[in-house]
Assembly symmetry: C2
Homo-oligomer: 402 residues x 2
Amino acid sequence: MEKLECIFCKKEYLLDIFSPFCPECNEPMLCPAPQKKRTFYPGKASPLEKFIDFLPLSKINLDLSLKEGNTPLIRLNRLMDNLNLPPVFLKNETVNPTSSFKDRGTAVAIQKAVSLGIEKIGTVSTGNMASSTAAYGARAGLKTFVLLKEETSLEKLLAAGIYNPVLVKVKGDYGQLFYKSFAYGRKHNIYFMNSMDPFRIEGYKVTGFEIFLQLEKRIPKFIFVPVSSGGHITGLVRAFLDLKKEGIIQKFPTFIGVQARGCSPIAQAYTTGKLKVKRINKANTIAHSIANPDPPGGNMVLKLIQENKGKILDVSDEEILNAQKMLAELEGIFCQPASSTVLAGLLKLSEKEKFEVNDQIVLVATGGGLKTIKTLESFKIDIHQTSLSKLENTISSLAHGT
Amino acid sequence: MEKLECIFCKKEYLLDIFSPFCPECNEPMLCPAPQKKRTFYPGKASPLEKFIDFLPLSKINLDLSLKEGNTPLIRLNRLMDNLNLPPVFLKNETVNPTSSFKDRGTAVAIQKAVSLGIEKIGTVSTGNMASSTAAYGARAGLKTFVLLKEETSLEKLLAAGIYNPVLVKVKGDYGQLFYKSFAYGRKHNIYFMNSMDPFRIEGYKVTGFEIFLQLEKRIPKFIFVPVSSGGHITGLVRAFLDLKKEGIIQKFPTFIGVQARGCSPIAQAYTTGKLKVKRINKANTIAHSIANPDPPGGNMVLKLIQENKGKILDVSDEEILNAQKMLAELEGIFCQPASSTVLAGLLKLSEKEKFEVNDQIVLVATGGGLKTIKTLESFKIDIHQTSLSKLENTISSLAHGT
């Protein structure tokens, strides 16, 4: 019988796909490690098959996959030179099928859904997770519910709506909507694979394994990850905990979770040494994809970060936009503001921390910039205007200018 | 000394990076095949290194790459079942670094630029090629000129402008702008890597080699490709010509080029049995990325298609939008309208052609749907509205409805 564990109460419970929360403390539960020895299968093309020993799946149905993962790790040479940094790598999750890391999690949750015979799935999201869940739901032929905030923009509705899910705009508190979705999901047999879904989190582990192999089995000194609800960083930390448990690694990376200052309940709790996250009233940041004022995985992130000697930082919108620009101008990589927090966080840390020349730093870029192109409308771009007859003069002056 | 060949005049000329056109007939020239025997290096992770024997490069500088390529080939099971088709696969070029196939070509052209010591590059484009060239130019630290139509939308300006190229809007005929860019580029040492650039075209060959290996060295019966200026299909056809020349394959795939009816000068010439493409006056289609009324590679595409027994089809905007919807709803893949022409073309061909049960069909999806989300604003999506207190009723009726 499949189980979930509460890492707070240190107890296991039978899996209830409709409510993955601890009956005692209400924290999200996670998939426990199996008893058997685990290994990688490097000959497999699909990351799900390559790392199946580390996933709560007994077989992979490739028909459900959109071939997520296998994303590049890109060395940022010009950035390193410009900022005098040790080796910095960007794990480019923006090239996943729906342009965000969410596909990693959805891919695993959808395998679980189909293996359990579930016919209806859902999610509560306004952005990346909505399109990802709708896309995988379409691919699997499942009826997919997407519950959205009332004020969701047309752009975001379309990015999920194109896959033809059941779209429902809900007036009222978004935090409550998250918890209510499980109650109504159970009643109507809809598996809500929301942000802290335990199978989703297992999918994020794969990114950690890929980073480890792409660095030729070296452990990076730092891994920077944007933090919102808490699922992504939980998965990444657990990837390295798994490797340690199996004796594959001895050292552990320092995880740096980064939040946007305008919505940083986890960073606030971390800074003040609290063990519990306090919800904030209102998010106010350009980094919408990581603006969860009431993060369901907040306490779990605090626990994992404290146990594993990580940090949680916050960065301002100005620092975020500056980092977004730097990544594009120096390295040709265009991320969402939420993703750019990782570079902003690195710049902030580098003011205090003295890096060694061989320290390896990994920035996890979570979502593509095209998804949030509207946030750039205030972005100042120089546009030169000319006509065909004056083109030569224009090019001449621009080519030889500075 | 490096050369280019004219496949019309069957002559070779010394490479002039600033003007890759035949001095006699003015057609675009291509990179000739080397004399040596060529092979694949399957152990290499980078596609450029894997297929270097087939590329006009003597070594690969991985620092210039954004790790383009290695894109998935996805079997479209639900589509096949719904439409009673033999095996259909989608080559998903939308997951390239800037979300289009252009990155394949830019990646090779940028290698060539840097190896020649070039410091300024440029392109004439309004869409996919603009962002791709600007991104790779930024990554390489080159000054990058992007020449655009006067009426280019802010969205497209931003998608290229984020990389900080020199953006120039030019009033006047777009076809003339294409040719003038070479003249001014030579004068001011700017390598314009435009749509029919011979090195760009060599980059597109890599997609063909990947398809061949992903199908386990079977030759698909049909390969569908959107056609605009002509560079992409030229590269893909040449990939299989290379394989034939090396004796690696005997059979040849049937290439089906697909144009949007509102801008289909190549399809018109093909249908009427002409050898030369006649420019049309005005493009009128939703598939902007393939709306070139005066395609510089048009005659080359006609020649390659006729010599290799392919076809050029056209499809209406309605068929395009229907195909875009089908790919998203049935398979979870969200493409640009331009990309969706390939499925529209397949549906059209399937009305006449009797497929065998083992025929393999490949659709090349060229660019991501998020780039053109504005074209969906007329798209009808059902949005249900409710409030937290009525959510249970709403979910109940939607879950059990049809």
